[in-house]
């Protein structure tokens, strides 16, 4: 359903993606691994319309989406749950969720209300906190809210940027099992993770990025057995980034 062809994106002088190509099929969950600065967030941001595309193309169900703005991407069914969550701190949990459905709130209000209920069922921990300012929630709940807000757009393609970063193992497990549940609904997911083990568990397929290109890819089981992946991301040598200590 998604095809990326020779994608190049620059941040100023830094070329963050160097001719990256990949395909994702309907209902698939793809894990994107790689060290800091590999370009993982840039890839997701480009898919969400945040960055100008220098070269290459993004095709969703055969239609070109290159150069479109974020609100267009959301309408087309691509929803990004960004790095650091980026929730609306001083708005309530409920308002955050309702704003997630911005492009259809006015036309399909009833549907949106039902969707909020579904999100609260998916993340029962958010229930009872609907009227709390989102900024007062714990990190785990904020992450759940961010995912919930992303789902409120009813995406065909859900992009998740490091949802487990800075969270306690128990919370990570909860979020990952929710993702596994989400998979069953048929939504296509691209999951960027530093927590390689957790990501490989939910993903069907995984790829490793380095300096803006894909250096390795395969199905999750192969990747888990791959010595290079083990050394770099699963073993004792794994570098803990400062953000993980927050």
């Amino acid at each position: 359903m998604l095809e990326i062809k020779g994608l190049e994106v620059c941040h100023g002088w830094v070329q963050a993606l160097r001719g990256l190509s990949l395909q994702v099929s309907e209902g698939e969950t793809l894990a994107v691994l790689g060290s800091n600065g590999a370009g993982k967030s840039t890839l997701l941001g480009a898919l969400a319309g945040l960055y100008k595309i220098k070269k290459g193309d993004i095709l969703l169900d055969g239609r070109s989406l290159s150069g479109k703005s974020p609100h267009y991407m959301v309408k087309e069914g691509i929803s990004l749950v960004p790095e650091r969550r980026e929730i609306f701190n001083s708005l309530t949990v409920m308002d955050n969720l309702l704003l997630g459905a911005y492009h259809r709130y006015r036309s399909k209000k009833n549907e949106v209300i039902i969707d909020v209920e579904n999100i609260l069922n998916l993340f029962p921990a958010l229930r009872g906190r609907e009227n709390h300012p989102a900024g007062t929630l714990s990190g785990g709940l904020q992450q759940m809210l961010a995912i919930g807000r992303g789902l409120m757009a009813r995406p065909k393609l859900l992009l998740l940027d490091e949802p487990s970063v800075g969270l306690a193992p128990l919370v990570v497990r909860e979020i990952m099992s929710t993702l596994a549940e989400l998979k069953k609904t048929g939504v296509t997911i691209i999951l960027v993770e530093q927590n390689t083990a957790a990501a490989l568990k939910v993903a069907d397929r995984a790829l490793v990025m380095e300096r803006g290109s894909i250096v390795l890819s395969g199905c999750s089981r192969e990747m888990m057995g791959d010595t290079r992946v083990q050394q770099a991301y699963l073993g004792r040598t794994r570098v803990v980034r400062p953000a993980a200590a927050l």
Binding site: A48, L50, H71, E86, F88, N89, D95
Partner: protein, 292 residues
């Protein structure tokens, strides 16, 4: 007049002046956070609104009609300016955009000079009658009109921001622009709304103060600067902070002018700005978690 009634008198003046600064600051902050543009032409909306209303009134329109027509036209001017000058340059750097608004400010002031000349124009007070005596202070009726207008405007805006979906979408842009983009809010539509709203608020403020201060083609510059200082006191990211900053600045100005020397009035704003930038660049209310 004894000291306490003099202090009370000054407090009224300070609140009145402050309410005008608050409205300008509020428009600046909202626009800044939605569009990334620090609109240095905001003061020009105030001046043009006042001048236009005065002309309409002189042409025979009733005062209320002159007010409404002027506010609507300046709102349209705000929208026009956004589409013509800001929107095409929306991908440019913050510096470029600021320079554009400086250019706009100069052009609009030039236009006002061309149309209205250098002589001040005036509007009658909104209601006749002598000043009211409150606790030994005499309060001009127009002062009450200004305070009332500011209170109503802020109350309406508060309802808009707190209770309506569109208002919350605007706040979402103010709180986190990236996230607002990601939920699908169209920044172009918001930007247009911000400039039109800024025009309307600026014009309303200008018209209400004209019976007291008169209106001149160049009145907007200083008001824009004061609005910016008020916004800086509040922290640029915070709508409530901007309102608070406006009142603080108004009261400080009036007390230092009234109790020390009237020459201090405009200097106070710059001293406060420097002090804020050095001591608390994130603004007074920033510690309370970017409440908007």
């Amino acid at each position: 007049m004894d000291l306490s009634s003099q202090l009370l008198q000054l407090l009224f003046s300070g609140l009145t002046l402050g309410s005008i600064y608050s409205l300008i600051a509020l428009a600046l902050v909202t626009t800044f956070n939605i569009t990334g543009v620090l609109n240095l032409a905001q003061g020009e909306f105030v001046a043009l609104g006042a001048l236009l209303a005065a002309s309409l009134y002189t042409a025979g329109l009733p005062l209320a009609a002159a007010f409404l027509v002027s506010v609507a036209l300046i709102a349209a001017l705000g929208a026009l300016v956004e589409r013509a000058a800001i929107y095409p340059a929306r991908e440019s750097s913050a510096l470029t955009l600021i320079i554009i608004t400086v250019g706009l400010s100069i052009s609009l002031r030039g236009l006002a000079l061309l149309l209205w000349g250098t002589d001040p124009v005036s509007l009658p007070a909104f209601s006749s009658g002598g000043p009211l005596l409150v606790g030994g202070a005499s309060v001009n009726l127009q002062t009450l009109w200004i305070l009332g207008m500011a209170a109503v405007t802020m109350a309406v805006l508060n309802i808009f921001f707190e209770l309506t979906y569109t208002g919350k979408a605007v706040r979402a842009c103010v709180i986190n622009r990236t996230a607002a983009l990601l939920v699908g809010i169209n920044p172009g539509a918001m930007s247009l709304m911000a400039f039109a709203g800024s025009g309307a608020i600026g014009a309303a403020a200008g018209i209400f103060i004209t019976p007291v201060t008169l209106a001149t083609y160049d009145m907007g510059f200083m008001l824009g600067v004061k609005g910016f200082v008020a916004a800086a006191i509040g922290g640029m990211h915070n709508i409530r902070g901007a309102v608070l900053g406006g009142f603080i600045l108004g009261i400080l100005e009036v007390y230092s002018a009234g109790l020390v020397s009237s020459g201090l009035k405009d200097a106070v704003a710059l001293v406060v700005l420097l002090a804020m930038l050095m001591l608390r660049p994130e603004g007074l209310l920033a510690a309370s978690g970017r409440k908007v």
